[in-house]
């Protein structure tokens, strides 16, 4: 009471004091807070995610013995192998050990052939990240384009066409989109290759042409979700009083859109983008299988079926780290654009 009373002397007369005080200390606190809040969410997510991943391996009851020795395994051989992989120790010791390993950048050795998992994943990650990354870029560009168009022409035919289109696309399962794209552009028109992957070292177009169809197929969902959220966000931002306020001050439509509406209306679309990233990584499994790409999705699926637990865990951990990092970026961007949204909640 005392501090604020001292500051607010004459406050009632002239309405002068900022309620939260001011100065550099205040700004530092605000910046720290905007970083601390997402971290307080994402650190637990990382640990819980890795814990679930490890728990999954333990619950599966799979062992390297089943993979390497087959039915002919003697109990001694199984025990020896289990000891070699450290599986004879208590669960939490194994978990701590595995976590420690992760922080040193190692994913352990494959149960199938004893090769370090990191080696097995190396090339495949390039394939998957190329597809997911391109899909993300397509999703952001076209999602924003359609969203902005629909909001600008709210309730007109363009809006209705985009709304209907995005609704239909969001309902289309990715494998249906993938099959349709192959049927039309690869089998029918023969414009683009249907399957396979070419490293970028062999030329940009060969690399890119193999990526287009899978990336487009993967991006459909993101495009329509981003577009819909952006439209909703912009339309509701247009209804806000501050738009009237800006109009009354004599600002023109363009300035109001770019300076005021876009900034506040982009919130829901950003959040959905954060949520879409795991879906993009997850969708890779399906897309890789359709387009015959040997990425980490198919690798995970194969490893899971054969029971190569360390390989599966490695893929999951990498995905979780990517998702967490991406969401941190989205979160910080959100807070910078819409600082008022970061208070409370």
């Amino acid at each position: 009471m005392t501090a604020s009373a001292a500051v607010s002397v004459r406050g009632i007369a002239t309405g002068a004091i900022p309620r939260t005080g001011g100065g550099a200390g205040h700004r530092v606190r605000r910046v720290l807070l905007s970083i601390a809040r997402p971290i307080s969410i994402f650190v637990p997510v990382f640990f819980l995610g890795t814990f679930f991943t490890f728990l999954l391996g333990a619950l599966s009851g799979r062992s390297p013995a089943a993979l390497q020795l087959g039915d002919a395994a003697t109990p001694e051989a199984v025990a020896a192998l289990n000891q070699q992989f450290g599986l004879d120790r208590p669960f939490f010791v194994q978990y701590a050990d595995w976590l420690g390993q992760l922080f040193r950048g190692s994913f352990g050795n494959s149960w199938a052939n004893g090769v370090p998992v990191a080696t097995l994943l190396g090339d495949r990650a390039v394939v998957s990240l190329s597809v997911a990354g391109l899909a993300l870029v397509i999703g952001v560009i076209f999602g924003f384009l359609f969203g902005v168009l629909a909001a600008q022409f709210h309730t007109r035919w363009i809006d209705r066409a985009i709304t209907t289109g995005t609704t239909v696309f969001s309902v289309l399962p990715p494998f249906v989109v993938g099959i349709a794209l192959i049927a039309v552009f690869a089998v029918g028109l023969r414009w683009l290759p249907a399957v396979g992957f070419v490293p970028i070292q062999l030329g940009f177009w060969p690399w890119f042409s193999h990526l287009i169809l899978p990336a487009v197929a993967l991006s459909f969902d993101t495009v329509s979700d981003v577009a819909r959220q952006l439209r909703t966000g912009l339309v509701s931002a247009y209804r806000e009083n501050y738009v009237t306020g800006a109009q009354v001050r004599g600002l023109g439509p363009q300035r109001i859109f770019f300076g005021h509406v876009l900034r506040n209306g982009v919130g829901p679309a950003l959040s959905v983008l954060g949520l879409k990233f795991p879906a993009l990584l997850g969708g890779a499994v399906l897309i890789e299988s359709i387009f015959g790409l040997s990425g980490y999705g198919t690798f995970a699926a194969q490893s899971a079926v054969t029971g190569d637990v360390p390989s599966v865990q490695a893929v999951l951990v990498i995905s979780i780290v990517l998702v967490v990092v991406f969401n941190l970026i989205v979160n910080v961007a959100h807070n910078r654009l819409i600082p008022s949204a970061s208070r409370g909640v």
């Binding site: 969410i41 637990p44 997510v45 819980l48 995610g49 679930f52 999954l56 391996g57 619950l59 599966s60 799979r62 600008q152 709210h154 309730t155 609704t167 309902v171 289309l172 399962p173 990715p174 494998f175 249906v176 099959i179 349709a180 192959i182 049927a183 089998v187 029918g188 247009y238 109009q247 439509p253 949520l275 795991p278 879906a279 990584l281 997850g282 969708g283 890779a284 499994v285 399906l286 299988s289 359709i290 999705g297 995970a300 699926a301 899971a304 079926v305 029971g307 637990v309 599966v312 893929v315 999951l316 995905s319 979780i320 998702v323 967490v324 969401n327």
Partner: protein, 301 residues
Amino acid sequence: MIKTVLKLPSARIALVMLAFIAFITVFGPLLAPYDPLENTAQNLAAPSAAHWFGTDYLGRDVLSRILAGAPLSVASTVLVAGIALVVGAIPGILSVYATAVFEWISLRVVDTFIALPFLVFAVAMTALLGNGMVQAMIAVGLLVSPLFYRVARSATLSVARSQYVEAAVLAGATTGWIVRTHVWSKVLPPIAISLATTLGVGLVVISSLQFLGIGVQPPTPTWGGILASDLGYLPQQPYAPLFPTALILVTVLAFNLLADAIRDAAGESGRSLVGAKAAKANRARRLAASGYSLTPSKEHA
């Protein structure tokens, strides 16, 4: 509420479509004209009177395989949604009223579920835990549950912070009373919307797993599995994927229509869109009647 939903034409269309799907699911295997596993004609035959949808690469009747695959595809979707509802909605409501520790932990678990790469995790979980349909349903149900958690939690939160709940507290109401009298009616519509949406999403995910051969063994007919085998014979039968795809789309579309209908009936959106046409007509009529003509082009509102 249900009556209002039924008044909407889109809801009626959705229900007709769903009735059709339900019929196929229950009676499909009985209606199949051939044994879905048996080679009955030449491979990759075109649609004909004997084989309406043609035959696949092993000469099996596609119509029979689609009908026989319906229960495994649709029923498991319903179960997935059921699991997600129970696992998500109940903690969602509880998180508002239970201790802060429960709230924090449940929120972080939900955050984690959302952050997990959905399909990869579902595949890994199903395959590692025994590669059966039950494992697949549990995995997918768990991973979809955050939707219900969030929806139930936010609806409950907005009710819990409302003044009428405070008024009930001031009249001596217990938490149980508040949930029964005030919370239920607010939480049910959003949950119904999520349920309808999840049923659509669930079918896509289940079909995706079947497409990848996860959760089912090869000869068993499933919609996703049929699509996977069609993919290899696109040059010969480019039309083949249409049949299972159409069924999947009809189901997903019906559930989405239903979700939208419930949303409209719950009375949030859509009114200005509906009214725009009427407004235009009214304006034209007024201008014609008054002879008052001005054409002030309107700014974006």
